[in-house]
């Protein structure tokens, strides 16, 4: 922590502007819902959903790295947190989403609309 007493204000404001911009873009997309992105399908869901998910991960990156100051921690503290989280979360999400898709394919034919 050689630079512990420096001020990181500039970086903080830049990240704020970035996060605000990304949120604005997300909300604009969410309200307009362009048909070419919303009604088409790409890798299992609409391209619009992929845009939302990627922008969310970008936001998460900036919050964790800049605000939670992961960028200033030692490499292995960062890795012990991030790698563990990324592995467990993707594992759980993958299993549960596959299971959800299976439930739908099994149960939906039984529902009469």
């Amino acid at each position: 922590m050689a630079h512990a007493h420096e001020s990181n204000k500039k970086r903080i404001w830049i990240v704020l502007i970035l996060l605000t911009l990304i949120t604005t873009v997300e909300v604009a997309f969410g309200i307009i819902k362009p048909a070419s992105l919303h009604l088409t399908s790409f890798l299992g869901t609409s391209p619009l959903n992929w845009i939302f998910i990627i922008l969310t991960l970008v936001k998460a990156y900036y919050i964790a790295w800049a605000f939670m100051h992961l960028e200033g921690e030692t490499k292995w503290l960062r890795r012990s947190v991030v790698w563990t989280a990324v592995f467990l979360i993707s594992y759980l999400v993958t299993l549960l989403l596959i299971e959800g898709g299976y439930l739908h394919s099994t149960l939906a034919p039984l529902v009469r609309w």
């Binding site: 759980l92 999400v93 739908h104």
Partner: protein, 327 residues
């Protein structure tokens, strides 16, 4: 045994790890990180359960734009997303004031730390208040719907736009049914609020208003909009209804699947509880800063640690926002 203990406990400072700094971080900070990690997995459990349920009911899940449409001061205006976007922004701002407090702590500026923490607390309270307002709207509902005996929610539309029951049913409840309370019936039994209209009234109003149509829960995959039934189909569905739903609770809601409201309450409630506890912790730390405890200690690391928690709450909201309101 002693040879197996990595950290010498002779100094008896077990709470802060005996002054050892694994990964160059103090014991407290590292443990905060690992707590956040485990908490992140808990939230993942909730959000992944939401994903599973949504995939299970992918052809009939409520559309968020049609559920969250309120903005303070704009009555009757269809304002999807604006309010949650504002809430997201408020939480991001509170994260910024928190990180500014941490930054001021590094420079040992006691006054600045206190003021930034104070701002963080205020923004946090605004956020929790906004969430309470969101819940209030969600619980009281704005349109009302009917539910069939096989558990499907039917909503009413006119010219493709959803309308409230009060928009086409005339007058008040006509069947003379009153709410059963302990005072007017069996003293040991009571029931919840009864609906404003009876099913028979709604059926009659549907028959006489030929421009009212029924919207089913089913989503048309081509347009990703809810399917609107023809007048005849709608009437066939309407004959199967047995009760009126107004608003939302854990048993039924006017938006669609029961579990949609349940997940909404659990996930945003669990997050809101985190924000609430974050505010309490921030208030405690705020007083410690004002009293000069960290000034005497020589460092403001405690502000950094609660800051980590606060940013984590913001981080979770970013995901809740995406998966509940956008996707």
């Amino acid at each position: 045994m002693e040879a197996n203990i990595a950290i010498p406990s002779d100094s008896k400072q077990t709470w802060n790890g005996g002054g050892n700094k694994p990964f160059g971080a103090s014991y407290g900070k590292m443990m905060m990180w690992f707590f956040i990690l485990s908490d992140a997995i808990t939230f993942t459990g909730f959000l992944a359960a939401y994903g599973l349920t949504r995939f299970k009911f992918i052809d009939s899940w409520p559309i968020a734009d049609e559920v969250f449409t309120h903005f303070p001061g704009l009555h009757g205006v269809h304002a999807p997303m604006y309010y949650v976007a504002l809430m997201t922004f408020i939480l991001i701002i509170s994260s910024v004031t928190m990180v500014l407090a941490v930054d001021a702590g590094h420079q040992k500026k006691q006054n600045k730390v206190a003021w930034y923490l104070f701002a963080t607390i205020i923004f946090g309270i605004i956020f929790v208040g906004s969430q309470a307002w969101e819940w209030k709207n969600f619980i009281s509902g704005s349109y009302g719907a009917v539910k069939t005996t096989d558990g499907k929610v039917l909503q009413f539309v006119k010219d493709g736009h959803q309308i409230a029951l009060s928009d086409f049913v005339v007058g008040g409840r006509t069947d003379g049914r009153v709410q059963h309370t302990r005072l007017n019936g069996l003293w040991f039994e009571e029931e919840g609020t009864i609906s404003n209209y009876s099913i028979a009234q709604i059926k009659a109003a549907y028959k006489s208003n030929t421009d009212v149509q029924i919207r089913s829960e089913l989503i048309d995959p081509a347009t990703k909009q809810k399917v609107i039934l023809s007048r005849a189909e709608g009437f066939a569905q309407l004959t199967k209804t047995d009760f009126v739903v107004e608003g939302a609770n854990l048993q039924a809601n006017e938006y669609g699947n029961t579990i949609f409201a349940n997940l909404f309450f659990f996930i945003t409630g669990f997050h809101g509880f985190h924000v609430f506890s974050g505010i309490i912790i921030n208030i405690i730390i705020f007083f410690n800063v004002v009293l000069g405890i960290y000034e005497r200690r020589g460092h403001y690391e405690m502000v950094e640690k609660v800051g980590l928690y606060w940013h984590f709450v913001d981080l979770v909201w970013v995901f809740v926002f995406t998966f509940f309101y956008l996707v």
